[in-house]
């Protein structure tokens, strides 16, 4: 176990967030069971009041969760000074089996709660709460992620043994290993670059088509946005990061977060996260549009969401392409 201020802060936040989510779930169950918008009973009124509380809680938890995501990664990165063999977050996260799982769970919690907030936002604009039961059903599915995330993060920090020697990005992200990361790193560069630019271009095209209502359904755009996010992640690890590190072999996704690279990793991560949340959310809007009371609500939300998604992808592409062009390092 390692105790330092950021670790304590993260643990405390997770405990608080978990408690608030559990609390929300209790009322979520009551709402699913007892909701009846036609009734003027006091119970129904009290349930309606609760929805305000739960929205507020999830709103705050989402924003703070985003913050904790970055603090977690930064903390993992900072810890490299304490562990032999670690040079960045890649090594410290690898200290025990919980490190990478925490990152993944934090990421998923952010995506899910972002989507939930969108559904909530839309639902609140319908005059008959059309999605209320589905919304709270979904909350019951999402909350466990956050709870498990808290536990896994705890296991990670409690399991840190300062005398463990870890392997870091130099050995983790090479093509010589086996497993997913090695697979990603050893992908042919042209293929990866092609997929990156291809999905991006497709997403922009589909986004504009969807905006102009040339394509009515949101699924194509949502799918291509998800594909572009995935391609961005893969491309970042296998090709793009080389330009940042100016080295043909360094494939670490975490070192860019360090001061030596001007913290450029943070805007990159942020834009990636924003696209990863808003892209899938577009797909959710399609079925909602068929609901009578949401017909006037969905189009304006959709418009803003498409712009947000396109903006996030463009920011990611902008930063990385700039680096690919102006980096001292060039691929042969």
């Amino acid at each position: 176990m390692l105790v330092n201020p950021p670790i304590l802060a993260l643990l405390i936040f997770s405990a608080l967030a978990s408690a608030m989510l559990l609390y929300s779930c209790v009322y979520g169950i009551r709402i699913i069971k007892g909701w009846n918008i036609k009734s003027g009973s006091e119970y129904q009124l009290s349930l309606e009041r609760r929805t305000y509380l739960i929205s507020t809680i999830i709103n705050y938890v989402f924003v703070f969760q985003l913050l904790s995501f970055f603090v977690f990664i930064y903390t993992a990165d900072q810890l490299h000074t304490v562990f032999a063999g670690a040079m960045c977050a890649a090594g410290t996260l690898n200290l025990n089996e919980w490190g990478y799982r925490t990152v993944l769970l934090k990421f998923l919690t952010c995506v899910f709660s972002g989507v939930w907030l969108l559904i909530n936002y839309v639902d609140n604009r319908g005059y008959d709460y059309p999605l209320i039961k589905k919304k709270y059903g979904l909350l019951l599915l999402i909350a466990p992620f956050a709870l498990i995330e808290g536990v896994v993060q705890g296991l990670y920090f409690f399991g840190l043994e300062p005398d463990v020697i870890t392997s870091c990005c130099g050995t983790l992200f090479t093509s010589e290993n086996e497993g997913i990361t090695a697979g990603i790193v050893s992908l042919p560069r042209l293929l990866v670059q092609g997929a990156f630019f291809g999905t991006l271009a497709l997403t922009v095209l589909l986004g504009i088509a969807h905006l102009r209502r040339r394509i009515l359904r949101g699924y194509p755009f949502a799918l291509s946005s998800i594909a572009a996010s995935a391609a961005s992640a893969v491309a970042f690890m296998s090709v793009i990061c080389l330009f940042f590190y100016e080295s043909p072999l360094h494939h670490c996704p975490f070192c860019v977060l360090q001061k030596g690279y001007g913290y450029i990793g943070y805007p990159i991560y942020f834009s990636f996260l924003a696209a990863a949340v808003s892209g899938p959310a577009i797909a959710v809007l399609d079925p909602l549009n068929r609901i009578e009371s949401l017909k006037t609500v969905v189009p304006s939300v959709r418009k803003r969401l498409i712009w947000l998604t396109l903006g996030a992808h463009s920011l990611f592409a902008g930063i990385t392409i700039y680096e690919m062009i102006f980096s001292k390092f060039q691929l042969q």
Binding site: P5, A9, Y74
Partner: protein, 377 residues
């Protein structure tokens, strides 16, 4: 646009109502700022001292070899250096002479070290700022140092070390090899320890193992290891302090909860009026949000500013004994000011986030007052 105007209007109203209840808000603000001040002090201090340690060690050699006799650090023969020089990949092998000196007149400990630049001017020394502070007057002249045979050496102060980091140089006295050996009676063929550099950083461990094999009574120490230990020790200390401070955070949260749950009759009445006049539950929640932002922001700024002054201008007087754990050598050394977004984010997670979460439920309770209660009072 409407959205922005709405935020502005409600923010305006919120600030007005906070000012109207200045007294009540003030108590919370003070406690809030105090909690942030304490936590920020701990965090700033740890961070700065870790940085300081890194600066101290920056110029240090990659590896030091000491000799151990009966488990204790002892003088090492110069011949060991020759053995080490033979190892492949090793360069810049040098013997060092250093030690501690207790000055009974001031009750201070000085670090004495040989600087080869002074070897030609035996009899003169260069001192650190901390040492200079202990000497009477501005014109230092010569200092008497008691040698191991009981006689006194009078050494002339030739200069004062520039303080890049006070922690490194405050207690330092640099002297010539001749004076040093005379003072401590160390024979010519011995030195305190041996420093060396290794060409390829990946071979540190290999070289260290080799040295241990060739010279079984020696102990190689890696700079990396020292840094790591420092980091771990200071992090750990700060962690423990924060665990202790958790009590005060908790007390503060209870206060915050209580403050926002136990609204005065007047505040409840006001909220009732707002709701009756057409403010909706989420408008009141928005107002509570801005209230939280105003209070948190103010306390955060005040707390951080106070901590900054405390740590960097007043040498963290409150926590120094616990955190520094260095000897009593550094009566008033100053840390180099340094704050970054990470420390601020940590502080935010430790204070503002729990405060906000603790006030959600009370705020919601206030916000859901029935508007028609206003018609019956």
């Amino acid at each position: 646009m409407r959205w922005i105007e709405k935020q502005r209007n409600i923010l305006d109203f919120t600030l007005g109502s906070l000012l109207r209840r200045r007294g009540k808000s003030l108590a919370l603000l003070i406690v809030y700022s105090l909690v942030i001040f304490m936590l920020a002090s701990v965090i700033f201090f740890t961070h700065a001292i870790k940085k300081e340690a890194a600066v101290v060690l920056e110029g240090a050699p990659e590896m030091i070899v000491q000799r151990l006799i009966a488990g204790r650090h002892d003088l090492i023969p110069k011949s060991y250096a020759d053995t080490i020089r033979e190892i492949k990949g090793v360069y810049a092998v040098n013997g060092r002479l250093w030690g501690y000196y207790y000055d009974p007149t001031n009750g201070a400990n000085y670090t004495l070290m040989v600087d080869s630049d002074l070897n030609d001017t035996a009899g003169s020394i260069v001192i650190g700022k901390g040492v200079a502070r202990n000497l009477p007057g501005d014109n230092y002249g010569a200092i008497p140092l008691k040698a191991s045979d009981g006689s006194y050496l009078f050494l002339k102060v030739g200069g004062i070390l520039p303080a890049e980091s006070e922690l490194v140089s405050a207690d330092l006295i640099l002297m010539s090899e001749k004076d040093f050996r005379r003072m401590f009676g160390i024979p010519d063929e011995y030195v305190t320890d041996i420093t060396l550099q290794v060409r390829n950083p990946k071979e540190y461990t290999t070289v260290a193992t080799k040295i241990s094999q060739l010279l079984p009574d020696s102990r190689p120490i890696l700079k990396e290891e020292i840094l790591r230990t420092y980091d771990a020790v200071f992090d750990w200390r700060a962690g423990i302090l924060i665990v202790i401070l958790l009590g005060s955070i908790l007390a503060f949260l209870i206060l915050a909860w209580d403050r926002s749950a136990g609204l005065s009759v007047e505040e409840k009445h006001e909220t009732g009026i707002l709701k009756a006049l057409g403010w909706e539950t989420s408008d009141i929640l928005l107002m509570k949000f801005w209230e939280g932002v105003a209070i948190s922001l103010t306390s955060f700024l005040v707390g951080i500013l106070a901590a900054y002054v405390h740590v960097f201008f007043f040498a963290s007087g409150l926590f120094e004994p616990v955190l520094k754990g260095w000897s009593v050598l550094y009566p008033e050394f100053r840390l180099t000011p340094f704050i970054d977004g990470y420390q601020v984010a940590t502080l935010f997670l430790l204070t503002v986030v729990p405060f906000t979460i603790a006030t959600i439920i009370p705020a919601w309770r206030t916000a859901t007052i029935d508007p028609d209660t206003m018609m019956r009072t």
